[in-house]
Amino acid sequence: MNLNKSKFPPQVHENAKIAPELVFFLVIGAQVGVGILGFVRYIAKFVNQDSWLVVIVGGLGIHLVIWMMFSILNKHGGDIFNIHHQFFGKWLSIPLSMMLSLYYLATAVVVLRTFIEAVQNWMFPGLPTWTLSLIFAGLAYYIVSKGFRVITGIAFFSFVLTVWILFTHYFPIKHGHVINLMPFLDHGLGDFYQAFKVMVLSFIGFEYLLAYYPHIQDPKKAQKWAHFGSASTTVIYLITTISTLMYFSPKQLQGLTWPTLQEWKIVTFPFIERFEYIGISFFGIVILINLALALWASCRGLNRVFDIKIRISVFPVSLILLLAPAFFTTRFQVDELNNYTGKMGYYLFYAYIPLLFIISIFKKGANK
């Protein structure tokens, strides 16, 4: 085991690199996950009709974090694991990098467990948790073992195959009530802050960039695509929020676990009714890229710190992904799991990355 691997900037073969434009799909693919099916309820709890503002502000905050991330990475080169080594030295960098790796894995577990819960509640009541986690972990394993280019491809296809779902919001908006969005700004700052904190969970996903940065050809060009991706996510969330707020009365919304799925119940086409079943199925695609990226980032951490090949480490790591969801059985536990990950994300974005950013200002750049 070579513990010194992260001392050096990562060497990525030219063939394994991706074009900077594709970062758009990676960012949006990782951010939009199963959370979109239910996040509006959590922010509406605090700010109700002003939720859309929280989405916008949350999105802007993420842009700031992305900008800081790129400043750090552009200045010091390499990836987060190398930067840990540069900033904190060998022995301190190992636990830090491992915590990050673990966090990446945790995001995957959250997504998978939440999705399985949605499936169990809406489609197949009584379907054992492990069957779905097996098939998803298996697929994610296959994708990750094929390398980063294939993961990017999956991100691309998952965007192309699911972006049309956005248009289904036409139906709830058509039957919705604009008055539910008014009056503007009728909440205190404290409520906004609470909602903002909750909103962070939905934006989790762009931080994988810390790990795959060296896999981008000409990474400096990728920054605008990352911003663009995150902005698109914000727009998607905004549309979802507005349609949900318009369609449900506030107390009704608080009684629903999956407002978006409820909305789909009235989406009908001449050839098909009850869109929620199709919606859930297509969300399988959306969460697959979530899982694959998180799994890859986690394995990449192991690779960079302990020099374990991704092809080897992905098996035990996806085994964890397969087993972990079975430990969360009740609604309450799943909710708590989401809460904790959200908090982790919050501190990662608004405490840890700014800290790295400040250090990077004072530290001399590695290359040139």
Binding site: M123, I135, L139, G153, I154, E273, R274
Partner: protein
């Protein structure tokens, strides 16, 4: 490639050595000519007896006095060889290639005159699989020489490179690798040649052997080369910058690297107007999705999500399924297998009988099974349509692959309905993403997304729009409309 290397051990095999030590092969007719002390040796079935008598023997008769070496120099044949002191092996090899060996019993020098009998090959005929109403109607036949002529006469440029390789330890099959020197990417050419050269297998009887041996992923059911019987298709691919090879004895040329969308373009797409061509292409792609997903969709909706069925269809679908004892999965598999059986039976029988089997079988079995209450008529329609849709794929290998993909999808849909269908779709996509053809991405213009290559993919836009060669081939000469480059081409020649 390692698997095919086993052929190498033949050389040191005891039986093989024994054969080498034998005097000469039994097949060789070795006799005195009766002219001076000349002896001749040849294999009767290989050489043209008439030419031997009329040309060689007469010449010998007329020039009795010449020594062996002088005789060699004066013999009026283009394809002749001189060997001062040939060993048995050389003689065998030459004679097996259709030469007549001439030797004065007094000297060791030997003359080999190439007198191969004119092969009786099939005439150039109309393409059967890739028939097109408009456009050329020449197809390759089994003779490599003819096939090369068919290509060369369409591509009279010295940039066309033809490199001959011999593959097959026993069959010694000649394979011609073709590419345009000033266009094709050298890496692609090298990959293909290396892979072909790496084959050490006893017999190569058709280009299909080679395709299967040099594919990037041999576990994949998706074909990674296109084989065609149309010389014009090969020429078009060469001009695009691809690499092709033609195998002796095979009526199919093969080219690569290819992307998945090319399997859904028929060559007559280039002969009809671009609107029609684009429409047909899109139709074929829709047909593929229909073919793969229609039956599984039916199965999953009927089995797991009856909620999805609109009110108007509900009674139609339910009545059609009344009294049917099997679950939808088995019903669908049963019907799909029936269709496959019909297809296979039709393919094995002579054309006319095959057609009858197809029609009679389809109608009789279909109506009978519906009347017997074994299958629902709605499913029968869906299965028949999806079978029909799978036949619209122009490349035979691909349409086979698509028919095969359907079965795991049907089985999957029997487990978790729609959810397993989207997962199945993702399985196919991730497999395709990992797939390459001659090292180039298989899903090329879709992913990695190259919008400029889309002009000739899902649709075929007019020729004047297609000014550039596909980017994924990484060709040397990017522009296709090379009139402004005409001078350079002339210089090259």
């Amino acid at each position: 490639m390692r698997f095919f290397k086993t052929g190498k051990s033949i050389k040191s095999h005891p039986i093989a050595e024994k054969k080498e030590n034998k005097q000469l092969d039994n097949n060789i007719l070795w006799q005195e000519t009766g002219i001076s002390d000349w002896e001749s040796g040849y294999i009767e079935s290989l050489i043209s007896q008439e030419r031997f008598n009329k040309e060689v023997l007469r010449f010998l008769q007329d020039h009795k006095m010449l020594s062996s070496k002088e005789m060699y120099e004066q013999l009026p044949f283009g394809n002749k060889h001189w060997n001062e002191n040939p060993d048995k092996k050389t003689i065998n090899a030459m004679v097996l290639q259709g030469c007549v060996a001439l030797k004065k019993s007094s000297s060791t020098g030997m003359i080999f005159v190439h007198l191969m009998k004119e092969q009786t090959v099939r005439a150039i005929s109309v393409p059967e699989v890739e028939f097109s109403v408009i456009g050329p109607k020449e197809a390759f036949n089994e003779a490599l020489e003819t096939n090369l002529v068919l290509i060369q006469k369409r591509l009279p440029t010295s940039a066309l490179q033809i490199e001959l390789i011999e593959i097959g330890l026993r069959t010694k099959t000649k394979v011609a690798v073709l590419y345009l020197k000033d266009v094709a990417n050298e890496q692609n050419v090298k990959t293909l040649k290396d892979r072909l050269a790496g084959i050490e297998y006893d017999h190569i009887l058709d280009s299909s052997y080679l395709i299967q041996m040099i594919e990037d992923n041999k576990m994949s059911i998706f074909p990674q080369f296109i084989d065609t019987e149309r010389p014009d298709r090969i020429v078009a691919s060469l001009i695009e910058g691809k690499v092709a090879f033609i195998t002796q004895g095979s009526p199919h040329g093969v080219y690569g690297p290819v992307s998945i969308l090319e399997f859904f373009s028929a060559f007559d797409d280039y002969f009809v107007s671009w609107h029609i061509a684009s429409l047909f292409r899109l139709m074929r792609m829709v047909a593929v999705f229909f073919s793969i997903f229609a039956t599984p969709l039916y199965v999953s909706v009927i089995t797991y999500h009856p909620e999805l069925i609109p009110d108007d269809l509900l009674t139609t679908l339910t009545t059609s399924r009344t009294d049917i004892p099997f679950p939808p999965v088995l019903e669908a598999l049963f019907l799909e297998l029936t269709i496959e059986l019909l297809r296979e039976a039709g393919a094995r029988l002579p054309t006319k009988v095959g057609q009858t089997i197809g029609i009679v079988g389809g109608i009789v079995i279909g109506t009978a099974s519906v009347e017997a209450g074994l299958t629902s008529n709605v499913l029968l329609i869906i299965v028949a349509l999806s079978a029909l849709a799978s036949f619209t794929t122009p490349v035979y290998r691909m349409s086979n692959a698509i028919r095969l993909v359907r079965f795991p999808m049907i089985i999957l849909s029997g487990f978790w309905g729609l959810l397993s269908l989207t997962l199945g779709l993702m399985m196919i996509i991730s497999h395709l993403l990992a797939l390459t053809s001659l090292g180039r991405p298989y899903l090329a213009p879709i992913y990695p997304p190259r919008l400029s290559d889309w002009k000739d993919s899902f649709v075929r836009l007019p020729f004047y729009v297609q000014k550039e060669r596909p980017k994924q081939l990484k060709v040397k000469e990017k522009r296709k409309m090379s009139w402004w480059k005409k001078r350079d081409i002339d210089e090259f020649e």
